[in-house]
Symmetry: C2
Subunit: 246 residues, 2 copies
């Protein structure tokens, strides 16, 4: 893990851009974090739009979490942002775009081709990042995972025992295989659903929530479209992490 | 409104038992409430088990609300507790018991006979109680409604403009007519659903949530049966009232 730049934000949060091999990432730590007072960590998931474009929203989530005493970190997804294009993913995205423009249902094959390789490739990268982040003296545990592509969160929750709680954002384009995988998730979950999400099949999201094997899971559904999550929903997610990571 | 007894609880909350004509009720006010610093009010709904039996849970909710700066009040439902029995309601309850023991579906006629007259009779009583409560100098507005029989909450939200926000507990045994009435509810809603509620049809609860006309409505679904609402769900409902009544 190589820190490429660092800056202190106006609220005292230390923001460090880093690379991990060829993968860019960002780490935010609250002013209070130190070797003698290490803080829990939340991994910030995000869609495939690239870190640069997602930066304002990620930094907002990071500052909110820092105010609650959490470090946060994220890395670029494969084939996104400044990382080398990835022919198969480009193809799958083009297929998806065509299917959506045709206004028909999106075939399972397209969803599988789009999501499964991304999950396969990226989850080990996040685990490597976790190794590096947890070796920093100012970062302790436990670790939470927040948001981003829900299939990615599901896989990470299943394979990574250091993650003890997750907030997930119910999205569609979930491969069928993920409903089975969801049954193997056992950590506490806080699942957000936008009730009128234009790109989201509500029943599919409810089915996925139902499938999770976790004994503690809550569904928080709010009105509005995909990007209309109300600010107080963020507060509730913050309370969830405070309950489970502190 | 005639105060029949009063006591100061150990956390400073003033608990007053009262009667309103023949209807018994209870009012809780935080220690801070006074004529020069009147507090908002939350009406506490409850099932048909009678105030005496419900007292421990009601008092717990009242103390929680008082800690957030709210007065709370409740009155006995018609035909319940010490109020005169009510032949039609007794009959409807016996019919329901028989239908549930037979493990078959409960006919719409039974649900209508059970719920609709109760709503018709009790809502005006709660409005009369509201008149009396709001005339007390230490109680200001705005007014919220919390829990209890969901059809009752729906009707109250539709007909009583002084109620500006409500938390509802999704239950079954909802008359079909209530789904139409739900469309006329426009105040902010915070709806709790127990995902594995043994006495509750989950899809019916989701349909009712979908029907509400409110621009701001949130569904909070938690694991477990009817009485298994987790403690942190109460905290989220408290944040909802703080957002809307303060």
């Amino acid at each position: 893990m190589h820190v490429t730049s660092e800056q202190r934000l106006d609220d005292g949060v230390l923001e460090r851009a880093f690379t991990l091999g060829e993968i860019p990432g960002i780490l935010w730590t609250p002013a209070s974090a130190s070797a003698s007072a290490p803080v829990p960590l939340i991994l910030l998931g995000h869609p495939t739009l690239g870190l640069r474009r997602m930066y304002p929203r990620l930094a907002g989530r990071a500052r909110h979490a820092a105010a609650d005493g959490f470090a946060t970190a994220t890395i670029e997804l494969p084939g996104c942002g400044d990382r080398p294009r990835w022919a198969a993913a480009e193809q799958a995205r083009a297929d998806l775009r065509r299917a959506m423009e045709a206004d028909g249902p999106v075939d399972d094959e397209i969803i599988d081709a789009l999501v499964l390789p991304l999950v396969e490739k990226s989850v080990p990268e996040w685990q490597t990042a976790l190794d590096a982040l947890l070796s920093l003296p100012e970062i302790g545990g436990p670790v939470g995972y927040s948001g981003g592509i829900i299939s990615f969160g599901v896989r990470l929750a299943v394979v990574e025992p250091r993650i003890v709680a997750a907030t997930l954002f119910a999205g569609s384009l979930v491969p069928r295989a993920m409903y089975e995988e969801a049954r193997r998730v056992t950590i506490p979950l806080h699942v957000l659903l936008q009730w009128d999400d234009e790109g989201n099949d509500r029943q599919a999201a409810l089915d996925l929530f139902d499938a999770f094997g976790s004994e503690e899971k809550s569904l928080h559904a709010h009105m509005g479209g995909h990007t209309g999550v109300p600010p107080y929903a963020g507060d509730a997610a913050a309370h969830f992490f405070t309950r489970h990571l502190k």
